[in-house]
């Protein structure tokens, strides 16, 4: 048994090293002037200095976080409300909602962005604004991930019976949904949100097609940086990774704090 555990640990360590090598190499590359030999030479933070002193970088960072978080919040609220209505009032419609939510899996980013442009670009409504189009497109892209995460969490609890129990105690259905059901599916919401963050942070195609120069995100900044200097591009990549890491850490920390409070109360 001990031998088997050691083998498993060795395999896991190798996999982790394998996954971390590109990241570590990028970090190292961004911190040195030259890495053409075996070891890098000339430690410097100049790449970071350059990107952080560029006003376009902070704008890109802000806009990236914005166009990432807003669609996630919108999609979560829409999916929660849709699933509430479907579960409580129209359970037979669930399969159709599921099919609708799965459609974006089949749509390529290029097709989606071109379709949205064709439909909305020439109008003068709010939806014709580039930022609105982008947020809308992102909502569509992450919809299946958020839907699946939330729906699977809902299946793990007996939602109908919990709602009925709250209702008999004097609660309205909608309030019961947010006070009783949502806290019990937070893990599903968190996991699907993180998945969506990863997906949106990695987008280049849609934002390039839809926003052109109106919205400048980190991927576009990265593309520009690659044209200037590979060290600078590595530094941008490291910053993107760090932002993703910080968002993930904050979400997980908030979640673990809830669990910790529960554990304390148990005592």
């Amino acid at each position: 048994m001990k031998k088997r555990n050691s083998s498993a640990a060795l395999v896991m360590t190798l996999v982790i090293i394998w996954l971390l090598i590109p990241l570590l190499a990028t970090i190292i590359y961004s911190l040195f002037e030259d890495w053409t030999g075996i070891l890098p030479k000339g430690f410097t933070l100049s790449a970071y200095q350059t990107i952080f002193s560029d006003p376009g970088f902070l704008t890109a960072m802000y806009q990236t976080v914005l166009v990432c978080l807003v669609p996630i919040v919108i999609t979560i609220v829409v999916v929660l409300l849709a699933l509430f209505v479907v579960t409580v009032y129209f359970p037979r419609l669930e399969k159709y909602v599921q099919i609708l939510c799965m459609i974006p899996y089949t749509i390529q980013g290029v097709i989606l962005s071109v379709s949205i442009l064709t439909l909305y670009a020439k109008g003068d409504s709010v939806l014709s604004q580039r930022m609105a189009m982008l947020i809308g497109a992102y909502c569509i892209i992450i919809l299946p991930h958020i839907f699946n995460g939330i729906r699977n969490s809902m299946r793990a609890i007996n939602m109908k019976m919990l709602l009925e129990a709250a209702e008999v105690l004097g609660e309205s259905k909608l309030k019961a949904f947010f006070k009783v059901i949502v806290p019990n599916i937070l893990t599903g919401i968190t996991v699907s949100s993180l998945l969506a963050v990863g997906l949106l942070f990695g987008d280049y195609v849609i934002i390039r097609n839809l926003s052109s120069s109106n919205v400048n995100n980190m991927q576009q900044f990265l593309y520009q940086a690659m044209k200037r200097s590979s060290t600078e591009a590595s530094a941008v990549f490291v910053v993107i990774m760090m932002i993703t890491f910080v968002i993930t850490a904050i979400v997980l920390m908030l979640q673990s704090r809830t669990s910790l409070e529960k554990t304390r109360n148990e005592g």
Binding site: I157, N158, M161, L162, E164, A165, A166, E167, V168, L169, G170, E171, S172, V180, P183, N184, K262, N265, E266, G267
Partner: protein, 336 residues
């Protein structure tokens, strides 16, 4: 008018007619059981009382008020579900206090009431724990406390003990009955377990295929089943054809079948004297099953098979194949 009154209740799910012309009354402070096999409509009637299902036709009254069209949260009814339905994200105190908070009672009053109710159900020590940390029995007691703490007009129990193991179940049956009597709360209990119904109820309504087959006290239902279904469902009745029984025992019981409880069939190794009130026959032991304090003998009376229960005591044992003499009191044989 009774405290709860179901008037000509019909409930259909599509083409499935689940409740058929149900008229049922419950007096204040009673514990009434709706008993019947799965799919007979008993839980549906309970849910109609809670407002979780709308009746297709008929009216429901509680305390003289027509609540047929009142939404569940305005009905003032407490309910305990089969799967407890405790809120997993809340500890015991928060679960029990949930209904009181919705009533916007002062905090101190809520704390007092919750404390008192947890004492009644014997869970004061567990007030900080979450449902996942409690046993099935404890969870069910929390659910009971949560339903009763708001002092509802009526308490509904929808098979609350069916997911609990046998020993704990028996204890909880007695405990629920004790609490119900202590608080004097009118209670409607749903179960498919006839023993549970016997232990807990003031009145039993036996359901069959969407209708009430028979109503009465546990004793009445047990000793005087009105139909063959009631006799089959309620006890371990022998239900031979009346003609066969009359032939073997030389009786003249009217009806298609006769219902004979196994415990009224007296067995002896010696011939038993026949009288006007006592029917006798000779048979042979064909089966011997121990039920702890009882032994159930299968006896063949010239082709008529009857079960006879004998309280276990030394010297009252019969071997398979042994000839025995049986006697039954004529007045206890029911023609159906």
């Amino acid at each position: 008018m009774s405290y709860i009154h179901f008037e000509q209740i019909n409930k259909k799910f599509g083409s499935n007619h689940v409740l058929k012309d149900i008229d049922l009354e419950v007096e204040k402070g009673q514990l009434v059981t709706l008993l019947g096999p799965s799919g007979c409509g008993k839980s549906t009637l309970l849910r109609c009382l809670a407002g979780l299902e709308q009746v297709t036709s008929g009216r429901v009254y509680v305390d003289g008020e027509d609540i047929t069209d009142v939404i569940p949260r305005r009905r003032g009814i407490g309910m305990v579900f089969q799967q407890y339905s405790l809120f997993p994200n809340m500890n015991v105190t928060d679960n029990v206090a949930y209904g009181l908070k919705l009533k916007k009672l002062p905090r101190a009053q809520i704390a007092d009431k919750v404390e008192h109710m947890l004492e009644i159900v014997g869970l004061s020590e567990k007030k900080g724990q979450y449902p996942a940390q409690l046993s099935g029995g404890q969870q069910q007691r929390v659910a009971l406390a949560r339903a009763m703490v708001t002092e509802p007009k009526v308490l509904l129990l929808d098979e609350p003990l069916s997911a609990i193991d046998a020993l704990l179940r028996k204890n909880l049956q007695i405990e629920i009955r004790r609490i119900q009597q202590q608080l004097g709360i009118t209670t409607v209990f749903v179960t498919h377990d006839q023993d549970e119904a016997m232990v807990m109820s003031d009145v039993i309504h036996l359901f069959h295929d969407g209708r009430i087959e028979q109503s009465g006290t546990p004793e009445q239902i047990y000793t005087h089943p009105a139909t063959k279904f009631a006799a089959t469902f309620i006890g371990n009745y022998n239900l031979p054809d009346a003609a066969d029984f009359n032939r073997v025992f030389g009786a003249d019981i009217a009806g298609e079948s006769v219902a004979i409880r196994p415990e009224i069939v007296m067995l002896s190794k010696q011939p038993l004297g026949r009288t006007e009130t006592r029917l006798t026959a000779k048979g042979k032991i064909v089966q011997h099953i121990s039920h702890g304090s009882l032994i159930r003998f299968g006896v063949d009376f010239d082709g008529l098979l009857l079960n006879a229960d004998v309280v276990y005591e030394s010297g009252m044992d019969f071997a398979e194949g042994e000839t025995v003499y049986a006697a039954v009191k004529k007045e206890l044989v029911i023609g159906l």
